[in-house]
Symmetry: D2
Subunit: 298 residues, 4 copies
Amino acid sequence: MAKLGFIGLGIMGDPMARNLLKAGHDVALWSKTKGKAEAVAAEGKGKGCDTPAEVAANSDCVFYCVGDSAMSRETAIGKDGLIEGAKPGTVIADCSTVSPAESREIGEALAAKGIHFLDAPCTGSKPGAEGGTLTFMIGGDEKVFESVKPYFEAMGKLFYYCGGPGMGLQAKLTQNLILANIMEAFNEGMVLAAKAGIAPELMLDILNNSAAKSGLVAFKAPYILDRNFVTNFSTKWMHKDVSMALDSARAQGVPMPLTAVTQQMFQAAIAKGYGDMDFCSTVRVYEEMAGVEVKKKA
Amino acid sequence: MAKLGFIGLGIMGDPMARNLLKAGHDVALWSKTKGKAEAVAAEGKGKGCDTPAEVAANSDCVFYCVGDSAMSRETAIGKDGLIEGAKPGTVIADCSTVSPAESREIGEALAAKGIHFLDAPCTGSKPGAEGGTLTFMIGGDEKVFESVKPYFEAMGKLFYYCGGPGMGLQAKLTQNLILANIMEAFNEGMVLAAKAGIAPELMLDILNNSAAKSGLVAFKAPYILDRNFVTNFSTKWMHKDVSMALDSARAQGVPMPLTAVTQQMFQAAIAKGYGDMDFCSTVRVYEEMAGVEVKKKA
Amino acid sequence: MAKLGFIGLGIMGDPMARNLLKAGHDVALWSKTKGKAEAVAAEGKGKGCDTPAEVAANSDCVFYCVGDSAMSRETAIGKDGLIEGAKPGTVIADCSTVSPAESREIGEALAAKGIHFLDAPCTGSKPGAEGGTLTFMIGGDEKVFESVKPYFEAMGKLFYYCGGPGMGLQAKLTQNLILANIMEAFNEGMVLAAKAGIAPELMLDILNNSAAKSGLVAFKAPYILDRNFVTNFSTKWMHKDVSMALDSARAQGVPMPLTAVTQQMFQAAIAKGYGDMDFCSTVRVYEEMAGVEVKKKA
Amino acid sequence: MAKLGFIGLGIMGDPMARNLLKAGHDVALWSKTKGKAEAVAAEGKGKGCDTPAEVAANSDCVFYCVGDSAMSRETAIGKDGLIEGAKPGTVIADCSTVSPAESREIGEALAAKGIHFLDAPCTGSKPGAEGGTLTFMIGGDEKVFESVKPYFEAMGKLFYYCGGPGMGLQAKLTQNLILANIMEAFNEGMVLAAKAGIAPELMLDILNNSAAKSGLVAFKAPYILDRNFVTNFSTKWMHKDVSMALDSARAQGVPMPLTAVTQQMFQAAIAKGYGDMDFCSTVRVYEEMAGVEVKKKA
């Protein structure tokens, strides 16, 4: 069994780390929240550490899953960061969804010390993390990825090697911008239909039996119709991802007017206080303008 | 067997009429193109007529499928139109996708003569029309619909009764505006990914194994990757439907900024000469701006 | 002095008709509101009539100013409309802002009876109408326009002959779509500045001393800063004009994504209840989303 | 006379520095381009330096005008930057248009060394810089600004103190986002009018005699009609400013859908190769879609 590390024990990271432990690995752990690492460590051959650097010093391969680009940078190359403890040859895989450009910079800083870096954002939400059925999109050196793939397999099922540094993130951002736009398309359509007097259940049934059917809508629509906006993935985080996709498009000269409008509508949702709710709550921006609700008939 | 009529023998109407004949019905036929009615009539107990009025005079129930609101009006209540030949109690079902507001006006004009009218737009494309597996969305009187449903069953498999006059069309426009937006979301995402250097096949594979998977993309993406823009549903017709959805939203006070941008991007596609190609050709607007193609690696 | 007619005695039409009377002309008058024509008639050599047809029967040249395309059609070629009373050779000038396509149809219907038709939309708002300083944009036959220009001169100061039928309206819609977009640009910028903590008076002062200065903002901004949304030109009417501009762009294959978004934001304003207020009240849509007001410091 | 410094001798900085020399000040100079500082220095009591640090060491107040946020940071607090040569109490004024958030960070780094910092973006273009008639928008400590205002007066005429750190930039970004949107509004309107067949000179004349008149259009339209896209302010720089305005709006929770679309249209213009031309060249994006040119009749 391998000597691994895991940093960031939030909604996604907690079950991911537990799956590494369940697979029998030694796992050095650290999380910003005091006590979290020790609690998870107790599930197997885990060990709580005081800093990311200490995690790196105890590991041949470290995974981490944090909130944004700044936290990723801090974890990897900040004070007490992984870079301070990792031996040359260590593999570090960032499972967070961050900016491809910033990820490349982090990778370059690590490479200067002989440390390998992979961008490895994942999808599958909380259930996928718990069940070990996540999908990973990988950027970086393919041989490096192959060398640590067995550890990934404790956490996920589908693995897409997408190319050099940042390419896993490019794929992830592409996926999320499409999801965000599908959400808004659904919002606009359903609010129009509801306003016209079509029962939301009926309209949904029609969509789900048509080419407009999507995995996203099949998953989110029941929550909307039940007026249950419990967070699987928050408006705020989706807005962040869409914004990074737009930044990437800006840098590469790709106009994305639809996505730009979706970003602004999500901004409106955040302004209205729906930032921490699930991003399907964005439907309320339209509902409030149109004076109608997309909800199940009593 | 019933005495039916069918008007409009285009890509959709031709196989729909043949399915009515195959089911053994007497079918009076008319089409703008000379000789078309007689050719179809020969497939069963059909009869070519000289005018829509003559079709109506020979039928208890008439279906029609034409291109736009003006043609629908002409067919139903224009000179030599159905209204001039139909007896009180006749059922007329418009299977075209037209404006709900105009459809209601047509229905009122017919109702004044005691003629029943249903809006009954359908989806399923050419294969669905040929296989008799279309989905119909119905607006109008529910009992009237039930009385002619057996004839519809020769042409389709799924039937959604959506409410009073125009409600079938409202549902259809909602479906199509969602499809149009999904198409554009896919276009923006795939062009960004291609520009970043991700192979389109790979990106598509990722999408098809994620919540971003949709029936539309599963159907259209292979055509795009093969650079095959043969028309299943043209940009021009999708633009027309999106425009009608926006008109309906305008009338009902529902803002739809995303759909408005999609409409304009389709307008750009038409301006570039892609109006008569399949609406997946809209990807070329983005490709030409970004200087990259979403195509299979050789 | 000439025998003229004027129909539609609203905010604009009332002072326009009075200016014709002041110039000494005989003016036959009609308005939908009972008694209005007689009241205006008393200001000079006026005469209230029972129908538009009667106005036409008493006039060599008729002006009219109504709310929308449907009312324009009704006035000109509907039952008891101008067409029923006008002699061949009569000149009819529609000063309303209506659809160029519909205006052309009206002109054709009148031409078939030998009646001349001009589209002659105007700008200048209520003060311009009262002061006889309106600007007119003219479409139709130039010689016809020249023949009645002296009567126009009682109502306006600037006259632009724009070309054949509908071209005056094309110019007017272009002007209004630019005004609508400038309004929204101002709204977005001022709300951002206010949110950042810049005093609106200061920001306005900066704008008014820069290339961003516009006639529209100079006129509207003081109202906004005073929170006075009294209607000079309503959101509803501006939304109508923007929608007609978009329809015209659609017909001519010109993509206008900015204008499309402005239309949707105006739609949001109408949905929020600002349809009958001045169109500068659209700023409130942004203010409510951002949680800040663009108002004078107490 | 004072001991001043000036860094960045581009289109704007060159004449600004010369105006400081003309006013009789000692001016320490540095520019990335070798030899530029010495050439300007020769115009008065100037002195070419080897680094920004050396400029600071010779000055009580340093102005600088560079291209973007990264260059501003480098100049002020990078290696050999102003921070390394400036004594406590020195005033540094950044006349560049950069991100308010980054500007605040720079100011904080300088404040830690007792160095005063002002954000002082300006408008007026090349002619304003040459004539000493620029408009400055100032953020930072008001007393600090008052203490150096006399030096500013050699370069500009209008001075707006906007508030604390970054507020000058907030005002500037607001102004530029409004300008960018006015440009696009004009583009959409003029292309529609041209497509409809209205002569651009006529349409422009109408606009310039209406509330749609703006300083921007009065300045830019003649260039467009002459098909002269010589750069006064490039599409690329305007796109940068609009993007910073959107970033600021994102951070503050202000939705700006119109501006978001304008940003994407500018991105399309850059993708088409118009990035280094004047930003009025963005009209060509619309012209190419619509197949018409906004140009003077021969």
